[in-house]
């Protein structure tokens, strides 16, 4: 495992192009594009103000830089460095900007969610979509880039509009059976749209592409409901994380619950491996002989692991949420399937320092990673069943079915890893600190 030198970045704006060739980073009002393999600067663009959002087009030819404060969007071309495009939303303001899947349209959401403006880079045409809903995830493009589903609110009722991205033709418009729609997400095969209600009511609705209601699922009433929803890459499972600290898995045939994963404070299962991160200070030799210290690192990454395997009855620290405050820190907020749909990683908010890994074949808990501090971010390798996570310290943690390692990021001054993202090849990892970033290259021979 090798690390690159540290580069500057701001606002944690750093993205690898979808083709995996370029690395774009924002430093204040400058946009720097590097070659991923050599890390040499290929292009340098200067924007009009501090960049608040940056994104690559799907064909890796253009980069969008949004300056929300100024209501501006600037687009840069990789092929023609002198080509430029500036979109001004004017006094109506801008809160969100994104590419359409074809990479030739930009969708801007204005302040107060008054409308969504669709700008065409081909024809300079502009079209508006009214009544977009202010919610957790109000719009989603299907994986193949054909359709966009947009949540709308009209007359105190929730609607979903399905657009054909090709020419922004409204394909379907239907009312949903939600009290207060909170999010929607296409299945990876693009044929089913999952829609969920706000946390006040546990309700997940599944709509077909043509607007038919396929199924509705509700686990319980009278309690805070859905917190997160994720499709498995195979479209086979729909995982629903909720405020009752459980993940429910629905199947794609009957849309009924297959199983539920509970995040209990004491783990008694002997099948699950509990890795506990132990910070070693001066005393190297652990006094507790019952704990088995694993040292896979010596062969895999040449760094000693600081994980210890805890024998079954393990008590996990639980933080009791304040019941009087809104959005209590409890329940499953993050869900992520591995690229092969084999594993599911979850995080329960009142056990913030723990990541749970579930096996989707055995439908059971495989591993529990108990960190010393709260987990900030975790992401699966896009190619292998390998999970990278960070906890805001100078270490990078990796889990794979073979074991678990923690790696010290050898950056000068200590890079406090706030966030991370995999390169699409799975060979490298971008580690983002507060003001810096660093690339981490995986050894090729390890799995």
């Amino acid at each position: 495992m090798n690390f690159s030198e540290v580069f500057k970045q701001s606002n944690q704006l750093c993205k690898v192009s979808p083709d995996g060739k370029y690395l774009a980073t924002c430093v204040q009002y400058r946009l720097v594009v590097r070659d991923v393999s050599t890390l040499q600067i290929l292009q340098l663009y200067t924007c009009l103000d501090q960049i608040s959002h940056m994104d690559w087009s799907s064909d890796s030819l253009f980069i969008l830089c949004a300056m929300y404060k100024r209501g501006l969007v600037q687009v840069w071309s990789m092929e023609q460095p002198d080509w430029h495009c500036k979109i001004d939303e004017g006094s109506i303001g801008l809160v969100s900007s994104r590419w359409s899947p074809d990479g030739r349209h930009i969708l801007n959401t204005t302040e107060f969610h008054l409308r969504v403006t669709v700008w065409s880079l081909c024809t300079k045409a502009v079209s508006y979509i009214k009544y977009p809903k202010v919610c957790q995830k109000g719009a989603d493009f299907s994986r193949d880039g054909c359709y966009m589903a947009l949540a709308e609110r009209r007359d105190c009722k929730d609607y979903v509009s399905v657009f054909v991205c090709d020419d922004w033709h409204l394909l379907r418009h239907f009312e949903t059976e939600t009290q207060d729609l909170s999010g929607l997400e296409w299945s990876p095969n693009g044929c089913v749209l999952a829609v969920w209600d706000s946390c006040l009511e546990y309700k997940v609705l599944l709509y077909s592409l043509d607007g038919r209601l396929l199924s509705a699922y509700s686990a319980y009433d009278w309690s805070l409901g859905v917190k997160s929803v994720t499709w498995s890459p195979s479209s086979q499972f729909l995982a629903i994380g909720s405020y009752d600290e459980k993940v429910r898995i629905l199947n794609h045939i009957t849309w009924k619950k297959i199983t539920q994963f509970e995040h209990v404070a004491s783990i008694n299962s002997t099948k699950a491996v509990v890795y506990k991160e132990v910070e070693k200070r001066t005393a190297v030799g652990s006094d507790d002989l019952s704990l088995h210290n694993i040292t896979i690192g010596t062969t895999l990454f040449n760094t000693q692991s600081k994980y210890e395997i805890c024998p079954p009855p393990v008590q996990i620290p639980v933080v009791k949420p304040d019941p009087d405050r809104a959005n209590p820190k409890i329940g499953v907020s993050t869900l992520a399937f591995s690229s092969d749909s084999r594993y599911l990683a979850t995080k329960n908010d009142n056990m913030a320092s723990v990541v749970w890994v579930w096996d989707m074949q055995k439908m059971s808990l495989v591993a529990v990673l108990q960190q010393t501090s709260a987990v900030r971010c975790f992401q699966w390798d896009p190619r292998r069943p390998r999970l990278a996570l960070c906890t805001g310290n100078t270490k990078l943690y990796l889990w794979s079915p073979a074991g678990c390692v923690s790696v010290q990021v050898p950056a000068e001054g200590g890079l406090q890893v706030q966030s991370l993202s995999w390169h699409c090849s799975g060979d490298s990892l971008i580690l983002l600190g507060k003001e810096q970033l660093c690339l981490c290259y995986m050894d090729q021979e390890d799995k």
């Binding site: 001004d88 074809d102 700008w119 880079l121 024809t123 794609h252």
Partner: protein, 595 residues
Amino acid sequence: MGEWWTTGPIGTSVGNYEISNISHVTMSPSRQNNLASMYSSLPLSYNVLGAFCTEDNIPQCVSYINQELDALGLSTCIEASTPRAAGLNSVPALNAMYELMQIHRRHMSSLEELEREQLKKSSTLDHVQMNNSRLKDQLELSMREKSGLHETERQLQLKIKTLQSCLKTEKDEVQKLQSIIASRASQYSHDAKRKEREAAKLKERLSQLLVDRKDKKLAIDVLNCLGRSDGKRSHWRTAKATVGHEGEMYKSLLNDYEASQRTLVLENAELKKVLQQMKKEMIHILSPRKPSPRGATADDSQEQANSDGEEKAGDCSRETLDQSCEHAREQLANSIRQQWRKLRNHMEKLDSQASLVQTQLECNQELILRETHEDEMERMRREVQQCKEFIHAQQQLLQQQLNTSFDDETAALLNDCYTLEEKERLKEEWRLFEEQKINFERERKNFTEAAIRLGREKKAFEEDRASWLKNQFLNMTPFTDRRRCSSSDGQSALSIKSEPEMRMSSTKTPLVKSSTYTPFSTPKPSLSATVPSTTELYRSLRLMPDSSSSRHSNRGRWQESSSIEDGDVGVKSKNRVRSGDLSIFSLGEDENSLA
């Protein structure tokens, strides 16, 4: 008392017993008191009416006494000795007395016993009374307790009543609160809706205003327009386009459904296969056993018939499985269900049997079995332990033997096997060696003969040469000329002589080879007149050590061992052999060169 009893009869026998009796009665009231019970049987009117018997009424008395005695069941009858006299026939009278006394004594003893018994009875009575009183106390206590419990129960019931009323009020409260919540929720949702509507209106107005204002800033500034990512030109929105979109959507949906259907069909087929196999196995399991456990009853025979039918049905369903029509599926499912039921019944039966057997075993054997098992286990463990110890000891001994130098016996023992092998080998080698030796001898003989002949020849040659030189000397007049000539001659002679040597050195390896393979089968040298001299031979022999090393390695092992066995002899013989075959060879060569 005994005294009195002994004196009694004496008094009576004296005859004036009535007096003595009276005197007894009167004189010793204490005694009379003591014996009150005794006299109670006698008429108390003794003293009152006067004497029982007087002089006048003896016969009456006697008859009376006789009657009394008869009544008592004593047969002895007292008779007056003389009808007139007052005396009595003493024997029967004494007998009767004695009898009476006996009776009396018996009565006394029984009386005593009865007294004792009574005492006992009274004591038990006391005890029972005590008990009774105690029990009465207890009863009272428990009664009190009971009343206390009644009291608490009453209190508890009261409490329950109050709690129930409490609960009711609480429930009411909950109801009220729920209704409040519901009303609040409705109020909230109403308000929220109102706010939302307002917000929507505001948004509408805002956007309207923004549109009306013709916001100049709202603009896109592109250097030059881009082509579409798919390279096509953008097209107008037409009805056709919308139809196309619909079509595409349905196509993708259809594709998805087809894909899912395909996977489902695959899965279904797999499951059907499993089901079929399960059914087959079930039939297989069930069919042979049916006759044996359930043979007799009519019910069973019917079942059997059923199962036959099912089997047919199963086969039929198997045939139609591929068609996967509803009918076949139903049939299959039904037959499976039936088979399964049968299997379950069978299993249950087996289970019950097993449990029965087990219970039987449990009641008589299990404990013993376990004990025996444990004993056996213990024994085996001990055995294993012993074996381990034994092995350990053996190992230790072996180690000791290895560590300390071999003592003679073991050394001999160990050596024996080696020496035996060695001996065998040596014997073999010895035999070979003997054979060789014979060959050598033969060769040697040949050689000596050849040498002798050579000597003779040489001698002849020398003579010839001398004569030739003489002739030359005589013929040649200038000395130098003659000299040169002789030297050249010498050279030529020398060259002739040295030729085999050179050949030897050049053809060392083939020679070795030949020597190894044909040491004994070399053709006998046919000696000609031009054989080299012995000196030549020796010289050639002197060459031998150089080639000997390579020859050594190439020679068989037996030769080496033989050389070790009898050093100089072997060497000698070898040398001889070598010289022999060398000579033979060189001779041959010479012949060739000469020829």
